[in-house]
């Protein structure tokens, strides 16, 4: 069974091999284990990029395969980050507080320790008490479960409401965008219990770990690579079987799948929830590498960028999503980081920091218009696969009917 799955999906093996080679190469060149050719901060950037590739994978599952353009996936990503961030922050503050309290003449009671942690963490928002949502913050296991459970639950409830009332297409996209906007606005309040716009910080320090950031960053890099590899395997398995076929059917003609007797809502709900859980895992790995999470991270614009990555990489194919996320985010880092040389036109100096976003926006328009298959479409050039040409006038009353230029082929 396993053999046939891999034989049916040769791209999985190729992808895993490339990922493994990449991981080994970075490890060998890192400051922690090798030649030191790759700086620690760049290892972190690469680790974060792998996490972004993982959420792009999750996005591709819902958008590329099930046709649900979610403009709110960073809500799940951010929630995953918040969940792990709560434990990291609680545990690290606890260690600091216990150390300082050990100096006192009289040993502190448990509730005094908790109060001191509370005032340390919530001092910035003028509070000292733990809100109820921090109930499990002292337990790593519980928070790791929540990393998957909270995004999953939000996606389940939202998806159930939305799919049940047959909200589809752009309406669903706008609704998901509203969801992430609502969540980010909610978290911006000081009394949301997650420190308002300060967010959670100091996440790069693992509690109780004395190793330098050189090592910690490479550990996270490995974890991210592992998560991406497993996520890819899982996603490929998910879409290669019957389940995947039904999803593609829903994407191409929802009504027809429903008439065939499938529970379209159920399928959509499952893939939406699973995708949100993967996004939560990606976020939980991303934010310890970023070191800080705040509500601005889940503003609607972030999720739209996610759609941009997947579209540029090529939706409807898993490696396309990964390529898109890695390519666009690394290139963006290069251009907006100020490393790219400015172009002097004589009358005006083009500074890439300013003009990169303009270029990205325009190239995105061009990709949508002229290369809907994205970068992944280059693979088809080698494989000589043909895609229907969707331009031209309608030939029938149904929007799914063939277009003029398709019929001519």
């Amino acid at each position: 069974m396993e053999r046939s799955f891999l034989l049916k999906n040769p791209s999985v093996l190729v992808f895993l091999a490339v990922l493994a080679m990449f991981t080994i190469a970075v490890t060998v060149m890192s400051e922690a284990f090798g030649a030191g050719l790759v700086s620690t901060s760049f290892v972190k950037t690469l680790g974060k990029t792998l996490c972004l590739a993982l959420i792009a994978l999750a996005m591709d599952l819902v958008w590329g395969f099930a046709g649900i353009l979610s403009l709110g996936h960073f809500a799940f990503f951010g929630l995953g980050g918040y969940m792990i961030g709560m434990w990291l922050m609680y545990e690290r503050t606890r260690l600091i507080v216990e150390e300082s309290m050990a100096q006192a003449a009289i040993p502190p009671t448990d509730s005094e320790v908790v109060d001191a942690i509370g005032s340390q963490i919530f001092g910035v928002v003028g509070s000292a008490d733990f809100p109820p949502i921090w109930m499990f913050a002292d337990s790593l296991t519980a928070q790791l479960v929540l990393v998957v459970a909270v995004p999953g639950l939000l996606a389940f409830v939202f998806g159930w409401l939305a799919f049940r009332s047959r909200v589809t297409g752009v309406y669903l996209s706008i609704l998901t965008q509203a969801m992430t906007l609502a969540l980010s606005l909610y978290l911006f309040q000081n009394d949301s219990g997650l420190r308002g716009n300060n967010g959670l910080s100091g996440l790069q320090n693992l509690p109780g770990v004395t190793a330098s950031q050189d090592f910690v960053s490479i550990w996270f890099f490995w974890a991210s690579a592992l998560a991406l590899g497993l996520g890819y395997l899982f996603a490929a398995w998910l879409v290669s079987g019957k389940f995947g076929s039904v999803l593609r059917g829903i994407r191409d003609n929802e009504a027809r799948v429903r008439f065939l007797g499938y529970s379209v809502e159920g399928y959509k709900l499952v893939i939406f929830t699973v995708s949100a859980m993967i996004a939560g895992v990606a976020g939980a790995l991303y934010y310890p590498q970023a070191g800080i999470i705040n509500p601005a991270e889940i503003a609607p614009i972030a999720s739209i960028y996610l759609a941009v990555w997947v579209a540029i990489g090529g939706r409807g194919r898993l490696y396309g999503a990964v390529i898109g996320a890695v390519f666009v985010s690394l290139v963006s880092t290069y251009f907006t980081g100020g490393q790219a040389p400015n172009i002097n036109l004589g009358v005006y100096v083009i500074s890439w920091v300013d003009w990169w976003t303009v270029l990205l926006g325009l190239s995105f328009v061009l990709v949508t218009l002229f290369a809907p298959q994205g970068i992944g479409g280059l693979v088809d050039l080698f494989a000589r696969r043909q895609h229907p040409e969707r331009h031209g006038a309608d030939l029938g009353p149904d929007k799914g009917a063939l277009r003029e230029s398709e019929a001519e082929q």
Binding site: T109, V170, I174, Y186, L360, P372
Partner: protein
């Protein structure tokens, strides 16, 4: 007092005796009456301290001399000088380069010129000046100049004073100006509430004031119902004005506060307990408990108990002792005003005012909701055309709003006159965004009809490009778009209800847009063609309509309206490159909630979202973020029940 009268009498006699002989010779018997008083108080006048100045002001004010008012005005204005050579006070004015002309207070005559070196300015600080101002009020209340009378009333309103009640009452009768008279009467009522000794008159005044919504009225009434909490071991006596009997452990009175008022042994706070334990560590043990075991609260209490038993620290009262001490006394809130009739009248008046204020607040909230709704409507009406009628998702709509706002800003840089620049900016903004819309339609959207998700993505690309472009051109800082003066004010209906003129203007603009939209869609050829093309492009084409051209014009029209909305929004919000972002999600929500393809739905949607937003905000006024969050959640749930919006299109018009 007697001495002062004597001096005045003496001075008057001197004045009569010497008659006009007192020219430049200001020494000796030639002093004017007010000068005598000033000399009498010279020391504290020169010292000019708020604490000690009162007798000097009283002396001048109570002198009964006609010159007193002028002296105090000059004094307050820091124009009073003392001649160093003989210590006399004059009003002085700098008439030339270091030349000061002195005027005598008593005669009003010019008494010569001096250089600044020979004069000492009396510099009353702001505290002293305000005391002088209060003393001046009684003179100014009857001043022939209405401006001065108004000043006097304002000063009375700010700083009430029991002594001024009678002068104020006396001045009401002769007041010629109707509005000033009304203010005098109102102030008199408030002073009566505060200072009138006669109870019936106070109650009458309180009742008269109960229809007034002013904050100052509430401020005048609130001290009457202020209470203090007292503990009575033998029950509440009859001679106090009782407000309520309080039970310890409620919101009004916590147990700890109540216990403080009893004479039981003092409570030991956690911090005191810790300090006591810390102070008594003896060889790693406290009261027989090892220090390491003190992380347990129970063991801590035990250790403290052992210390108390040994007599080292004060014992903690037990729970039963505390309860017994609390049970032994009655706690009561007592009005500081001794008259029950007055406090009752004040409570009743305050309750009536509170109801009144509540009703007015609801009305004010309604106005706010209406104005917020019209802003949403304004932002969404362009979308109602491009998205609602044509079905094109344009994520760059917000950036068209931004372009309109920046057009307004640029026009204002060129045309300094605010009114003219707004008048110019509106058509210009329409032109700019119309052109941008047509370009977007021709270059991008035309290729993506029937593929709404891809339209969404492509226009999003345009949106981020335009946003960054605006940042590159105008920078990241907010640009002001100044509204003309006639839009700057506010319409104030009473102390609770007011609305700024600019919001009224936006409301009117929204109505105009609605009318224009309806006119174009229902009464013009373009509207007819647009509706035809939307319903069936193939058939419309067969009827000789050019669908491409109609789509282009319709999209341009929707974009142009967004540009005008941008000018309006820019007038009251800061213009930044992100201004469009702030409205895009809400605008889509407005259109979707209202029902796609129906302008009345958009209107209802905007009204509903505005009302909802303000309504939620009312429950938690400090938190607009929460209001937005709950509003969006409400909308998500609303769409469950009416997936096609408030007004759903039916039949063929509904499309697929």
């Amino acid at each position: 007092m007697l001495k002062r009268v004597l001096v005045i009498v003496l001075a008057a006699i001197c004045l009569g005796a010497v008659a006009q002989a007192q020219t430049d010779d200001a020494g000796g018997a030639g002093l004017g009456a007010i000068q005598v008083i000033l000399q009498d108080q010279a020391e504290i006048i020169v010292e000019s301290s708020r604490q000690t100045i009162a007798p000097a002001i009283d002396a001048v004010a109570d002198s009964g001399l006609p010159q007193a008012q002028r002296v105090m005005e000059v004094w307050q204005a820091r124009d009073m000088y003392r001649r160093i050579s003989d210590g006399l006070f004059f009003a002085a004015e700098e008439t030339g380069d270091d030349v000061w002309t002195l005027t005598d207070f008593d005669t009003g005559a010019n008494v010569g010129e001096l250089s600044g070196d020979a004069l000492e300015q009396i510099k009353p600080n702001s505290g002293v000046r305000s005391l002088i101002g209060t003393a001046l009020v009684r003179f100014q209340l009857n001043d022939p100049d209405p401006a001065k009378r108004e000043d006097a009333i304002s000063s009375l309103e700010r700083r009430a004073n029991a002594d001024l009640l009678d002068p104020l009452r006396a001045s009401i009768e002769g007041e010629p100006d109707a509005s000033l008279k009304a203010r005098k009467i109102r102030t008199e009522r408030m002073l009566t509430v505060a200072y009138e000794p006669d109870e019936a008159a106070r109650i009458a005044a309180i009742e008269e004031l109960s229809g007034d919504l002013g904050v100052d009225v509430r401020a005048a009434l609130n001290p009457l119902v202020a209470t203090t909490i007292r503990a009575y071991p033998d029950g509440v006596p009859d001679d106090v004005n009782l407000a309520a009997i309080l039970t310890p452990g409620t919101d009004a009175l916590s147990r700890a506060e109540a216990y403080e008022m009893t004479d039981g042994p003092a409570l030991v706070s956690d911090a005191d307990l810790m300090n006591a334990l810390q102070a008594n560590i003896d060889d790693g043990m406290v009261g027989g408990v090892p220090v390491a075991a003190l992380s347990d609260p129970g063991r801590r209490a035990a250790a403290y108990g052992a210390l108390a038993d040994a007599g080292v620290v004060a014992p903690r009262p037990t729970e039963a002792q505390v309860q017994a001490a609390l049970d032994a006394v009655t706690f009561a809130a007592i009005y500081s005003d001794p008259s029950p009739a007055v406090t009752q009248a004040a409570e009743a008046a305050l309750a009536k005012i509170a109801t009144n204020v509540g009703l007015n607040q609801v009305f004010d909230l309604g106005l706010d909701a209406l104005s917020l709704g019209s802003i949403y409507f304004l932002a969404a009406i362009g979308l109602a055309i491009t998205f609602g009628v044509m079905g094109v998702i344009n994520m760059a709509h917000g950036e068209f709003i931004m372009m309109g706002a920046y057009t307004g800003f640029v026009v204002q840089q060129v045309v300094p006159n605010h009114t003219l620049s707004i008048v110019l900016a509106i058509p210009l903004a329409f032109a700019v965004t119309f052109a941008a819309g047509v370009a977007l339609e021709r270059l991008v959207i035309r290729w993506l009809y029937n593929r709404p998700l891809e339209t969404l993505l492509a226009t999003f690309g345009v949106s981020i490009a335009l946003q960054q472009l605006a940042k590159n051109i105008f920078g990241t800082q907010a640009r002001p778009l100044t509204s003309p003066d006639w839009l700057g004010g506010a319409v104030v209906i009473n102390d609770v209800v007011s609305i700024s003129t600019i919001r009224i203007a936006i409301f009117v603009l929204a109505l105009i847009f609605l009318a224009v939209f309806l006119f174009i869609m229902k009464r013009t050829r373009l509207g007819l063609e647009t509706r035809a093309v939307t319903q069936n492009p193939g058939m419309a084409g067969a009827m000789g309509i050019n669908p491409g051209r109609v789509n282009m014009l319709t999209f341009g029209l929707g974009s142009g309206i967004a540009g005008i909305a941008g000018v309006a929004i820019g007038l009251y919000a800061q213009v930044t490159s992100e201004i469009g972002q702030a409205y895009i999600v809400q605008s889509f929500m407005t259109v979707v909630v209202g029902g796609v393809g129906n302008i009345w739905g958009t209107l209802l949607g905007a009204g509903m979202i505005g009302a909802l937003h303000k309504g939620i905000e009312w429950f938690n006024p400090s938190n607009t973020l929460a209001a937005q969050t709950y509003m969006i959640i409400f909308i998500i749930i609303f769409i469950q029940f009416r997936p096609r919006g408030i007004i759903a299109l039916k039949g063929r018009a509904a499309g697929d």
